[in-house]
Amino acid sequence: MNKLNRFEKASVGAVALMLLAGGAIFFYAPTDFLQGPVQRIFYLHVSSAIAAYGCFAVVLLGGAIFLRTENYAADRWARAGALVGVVFTTVTLVMGMLWAKKVWGAFWVWDARLTSTLVLWIIYAGYLLVRRLTEPGRQAARLAAVVGIFGFVDVPVVHFSVTWWVTHHPGPVIINDALPAQMLATFLFTMLCTIVLAAVMITIRYRIETLMDMKQLIAGPVHVVITREPEPVQ
């Protein structure tokens, strides 16, 4: 039997933790009085959101460190963080929309949290596109670092702006009741498991990015003709 390498072991561990969290969500936490069973989405929805912000903190730090030190490892962590972060943001958005539909009857509401989560998604999708569409190299890493930094700053600014707007233009508000102890415990546990999952995913992705970079160095032999504008017709 093949021994699992350390990444495979970490993945199995993370998945096991998530299954445990799932168990806690469905069997340990009590059913919410007001919202019914659909409220259970909340545990994973908010945990995903927190994990996503954590991922983008990785993008911010990686980018800032790269700009300062030109250390390409930092850039690879940023790339890994952006990809995993977009995944978690997507999960957050989808779960949020399902919940909103059940609780308010509408898939979408322009409140501060949903709006800023959507903005988060758009910015980091943009980050990934910038990387994909630029020639890989130092300048691509620098441009992306700038995008990542602005993105990270923008999200709380948008959140604040929309909150400010909403105080003038009231609409449906997410009710935050005080959580009974069992729910709080479930939530904290789920959040922890989700963060572990995110960390494992980022680490694996970092490894992939490192291997991809190395492949570029080894694989290509010397040639490619650099394309040039055609000589002007005399």
Binding site: V119, L129, R142, V146, I149, F150, V157, V158, S161, V162
Partner: protein, 220 residues
Amino acid sequence: MNPFRAAIAVARKDLVSEWRTREMVPALAQFVVLALLIGNFGFQIDSRNAPSIAPGILWLALVFAGLIAFGRTFAAEREQSSLEAMLMTPASPVAIFAGKALAASVLLILCEVVLLPALSLFFGTPFSGDLVVAVLLATIGMASLGCLFAAIVARVRARELLLPLLTLPLWIPFIVAGGQAVQSAMGLPGSYDQAIGLLIDFDILFVVLTSLAARFVLDE
């Protein structure tokens, strides 16, 4: 070398070039006209609801005009070679960036000079100094962000797609605060002073950030 001198020289050069070739003015003028037409035929506007709809039309027009005005600052392929020539001088990249942002803002402001009175004229909404101040403050922040991202996407493929994608999320705070300020200036309830205060805060935040980021984006 005095950075202000360099920035003014760059801005002047851009504006003189635009004046002589008049490439952007027709595109921007188009937006002004379209905004007014769509406003009139797309919405059921009467004297009661005009103040609630006109701000929306104003911001739509500004955002799209802004994307064009700022997008073009770094776009032309030729511009890339001349950008490199400018970067080869002792002038700092921040000064060059500031000059280009300034020139692009002037163009957008010229557009606003036409749009704002026209909006008042055709939709009967009040036209005041408050309105002008709100729009100008928003223009500053939007210009610095728009030009920075235009510089970023200039080196990337599919720049027409990427520029709005990257820029609009960063413009949202300006649209929210500016939108409120414009609505207040047109007579709807809401705090004008708070909105202006927010616009100023956002301007300071993003002008500082874009100035710091400019050298990483422009220079190899």
